[in-house]
């Protein structure tokens, strides 16, 4: 007998047509699945009543094991037990080499030519997918994630009593195209239909029903075990928009534990050189004390020393607060940066949503409250709030709530642009533009008779291509030969709701077309995004100078090119020897100056050349007009 859930009025489905949907929080350490049952979003437990599924996959001799059982085996079977695979999603070998020393796995460093969509290009060999060698053969991060998703989906289908029509999977707001695509690939591999990917902070805001409110600006403070993320969201005309994001990918509750463990070591007179067992015992002890101090004012500490002795002490909340204050201060600095990026003040923030287990620490709540001058929202379990928001969104997208029009918008984290002549970046979609978005811009050819155009898509805030991140390159071929500047090439950047970028170039007079979908090149962490933003501010003046210089150089080159073409055509007919020598000299001067680093002298040289050329240009003009009019009667020109 099928068990039924209560539906919204008019939404009860015919038998076997229930639109079952789930929200999945695919986390670095733990994952969760949630669904809306009888109008209530709840996380779904497994048969043992556990809601959290450790994001650990073990390739055991008897088959694939996911979750707590895999996590337990991590110590004895590290090479076949994959943890924290989210950090590898959408990353190339290049990134991995930098993470390499911390990864316990046996990584196969070789190029893998996976069947990607035609036209996709990846640079620097970065499209090569890292493979982890296990006893079941080589597995990719996408395949490992698919195992986690499969386990969660199976749990959901058992709990809901039917097949899922679709899922919403959450990803960090700073995930780039490659990381998002990898997440979608994993879902497809797990046999799941992805309604959409949803940014984690947006999901948290949805869980609190902030989307049902009037307009307002909200902050989502997400302090997990190992990472910190801050996001500023704006609800505008019923639409959610991520205004800015920030954070620290290496700051979390684990650092609180470490600070406390060090304090205990100092108090107990222990040296730094502890054996791993003692180290682990100390960390566990610190975690326990930290959790106790969330509910009581002081805690007793009992520690067995390596020499068999015992140490006993106590710590009160105030001392603990003193230990973690510098860490919390770092998160608050990131919050202030995010506020500045979003262009809002702390006073404008209406609600502060707390996400992540570490937001249970009272001192964190206090300090966050001080900064935003608002009581942080803590009533939804901070470990589950993201999954719950995803479930609510999945329910809407499955069509179980017809009157709802919840459209959640996100922003791109770094500007997208094209390389133009001189290695300069033409920004086409500025950062923090809400997605989905389509922007187009016209480009033209630089040389006479140019039949192809190389397009280089870059990401970043700097003015020179060399300072930005290269995403893709492609060529538009088959442009009909025309004079420089006559071709009209429309380049369109489209970013879909999941942040995937599609660039197309169309030559409008001939209709020739080319395009690229940006596929896994290497990933980008939030700290890199932050660095790129910082650099763009620090180098703003250098960039302006570099742009001015390059622009002058390009202009000098264009003039040189055009003049040489003209001289070759009719220089001998229209100029006497003296004039020609004058022009040649000014031209030579410009070519020499263009190689210099002084934009003003290049400009002066170009202007000087243009001046010398004035009579010549005039004569050419008259000649071409005469040629055009030759053989025509005057009255033909009068209309």
């Amino acid at each position: 007998m099928a068990l039924l859930q209560i539906a919204e009025p008019g939404q009860f489905a015919a038998p076997h047509q229930h639109k079952l949907a789930a929200g999945i929080d695919l986390g670095t350490t733990n994952s969760l699945v949630a669904s809306v049952l009888s109008g209530m979003a709840v996380t779904l437990p497994d048969a043992a009543g556990r809601h959290l599924l450790p994001s650990v996959v073990r390739y055991a001799a008897e088959g694939v094991v996911v979750g707590d059982e895999a996590k337990l085996a991590a110590v004895e079977d590290p090479l076949n037990t994959v943890q924290s695979v989210k950090r590898l999603m959408g990353r190339g070998l290049a990134d991995l080499k930098t993470l390499g020393s911390t990864l316990p796995y046996d990584i196969a460093y070789r190029e893998v030519g996976e069947g990607r969509e035609p036209g996709a290009v990846s640079l620097d060999g970065s499209g090569a997918v890292p493979r982890i060698r296990t006893r079941s053969g080589e597995v990719t991060p996408v395949e490992v994630s698919a195992e986690i998703l499969k386990t969660l989906a199976r749990r959901a289908e058992q709990s809901l009593g039917g097949e899922l029509t679709g899922v919403v999977i959450t990803v960090p707001a700073y995930f780039d195209d490659a990381q998002r695509q990898a997440t979608k690939d994993a879902a497809r591999l797990a046999g799941l239909n992805v309604f959409r990917l949803l940014n984690e902070p947006t999901a948290a805001a949805v869980a609190y029903g902030l989307d049902q409110r009037a307009e307002g600006v909200h902050a989502v403070y997400d302090l997990g075990g190992g990472t910190f993320d801050i996001s500023i969201l704006r609800l505008h005309r019923g639409v959610f928009e991520v205004m800015s994001t920030g954070g620290d990918s290496a700051l979390g509750g684990d650092d609180f534990d470490r600070a406390l463990a060090q304090w205990i070591m100092a108090q107990a007179g222990l040296g730094e050189d502890l054996d791993p067992v003692m180290q682990l015992r100390l960390t566990r002890l610190a975690t326990g004390i930290k959790e106790q101090l969330s509910s009581v004012e002081s805690a007793e500490i009992h520690l067995e020393l390596p020499n068999g002795g015992r140490w006993q002490g106590s710590i009160d909340r105030e001392t603990f607060n003193g230990l973690i204050d510098p860490l919390i201060a770092k998160t608050l600095a990131a919050c202030r940066r995010a506020l500045r990026d979003a262009g809002v003040t702390a006073e404008e923030i209406e609600d502060v949503v707390m996400v992540g287990g570490s937001t249970r620490v009272p001192r964190v709540r206090e300090r966050v409250k001080e900064l935003f001058r608002a009581e942080p929202r803590v009533d939804v379990d901070p470990d589950r709030v993201v999954a719950i928001g995803a479930a609510i969104q999945a329910d809407v997208l499955a069509g179980n709530k017809p009157d709802e029009e919840m459209l959640l918008l996100d922003v791109i984290s770094l500007s997208l642009g094209m390389e133009t002549m001189g290695g300069l970046v033409e920004r086409i979609v500025p950062r923090n533009t809400t997605i989905p978005v389509a922007r187009a811009q016209e480009f033209t050819t630089f040389k006479d008779g140019q039949t192809a155009l190389a397009l280089h898509v870059v990401q970043g805030e700097r003015d020179l291509v060399s300072d930005c991140r290269s995403l893709a390159r492609f060529e538009l071929r088959g442009i009909p030969p025309m004079v420089a500047g006559a071709a009209r090439i429309r380049v369109t950047f489209e970013v879909d709701a999941d942040g995937l970028l599609n660039v197309t170039a169309l030559e409008e007079t001939s209709g020739v077309k080319a395009g690229v979908v940006v596929k896994p090149s290497y990933g980008l962490s939030d700290s890199e995004v932050e660095r790129m933003l910082r650099d763009s501010i620090a180098h703003a003046e250098d960039d302006m100078a570099a742009r001015r210089l390059r622009e002058e150089q390009v202009e000098a080159e264009r003039v040189t090119e055009a003049l040489r073409a003209a001289l070759a055509q009719d220089g001998d007919q229209l100029l006497d020897a003296g004039e020609r020598a004058g022009i040649e000299q000014a031209l030579k001067h410009l070519v020499e100056t263009a190689a210099s680093q002084n934009h003003l002298s290049i400009k002066r040289a170009r202007e000087a050349l243009e001046k010398v050329c004035e009579p010549y240009v005039e004569r050419r003009m008259n000649t071409s007009v005469r040629q055009a009019m030759a053989g025509h009667k005057l009255d033909e020109f009068e209309s």
């Binding site: 007998m1 099928a2 068990l3 039924l4 859930q5 209560i6 539906a7 919204e8 009025p9 008019g10 939404q11 009860f12 015919a14 038998p15 076997h16 049952l37 009888s38 109008g39 209530m40 779904l44 437990p45 497994d46 048969a47 749990r155 058992q158 709990s159 809901l160 009593g161």
Partner: protein, 107 residues
């Protein structure tokens, strides 16, 4: 004529209504569709129509339209857990046969 709720069903309905924040009660009904004749319907009710019958059990208003009532009279609505799956179950004395899944039935 009556419809009843088990204790478990009533407490879950109360929780769901509270979470939803609005609603006059719970609407039960039958529809003439499904793989074996009739199908159950279970929805939140925002309004009560003039012809509806309303039963109150454990403080919950159960609302049924007159056409459905003849098929559901004497039904007890239960909330049960079967493995990981939990949800509502109609214990309907009028049922003579049902499809394998139990989502539709014959009288």
């Amino acid at each position: 004529m009556a419809i009843t709720l088990t204790e478990a069903a009533a407490s879950h309905i109360a929780k769901f209504l509270k979470n939803r924040g609005k609603g006059a009660g719970l609407r039960l009904g039958v529809k003439t569709s499904g793989c074996s004749g009739m199908a159950y319907l279970l929805e939140f009710a925002d309004q009560i129509e003039a012809e509806d019958s309303v039963f109150e059990d454990h403080g919950i208003k159960v609302i049924i339209d007159p056409k459905s009532l003849v098929y559901l009279d004497g039904t007890e609505l239960d909330f049960v857990k079967e493995g990981l799956n939990e949800g509502f179950k109609f214990n309907n004395p009028n049922v003579k046969g049902q499809c394998g899944c139990g989502e539709s039935f014959q009288v």
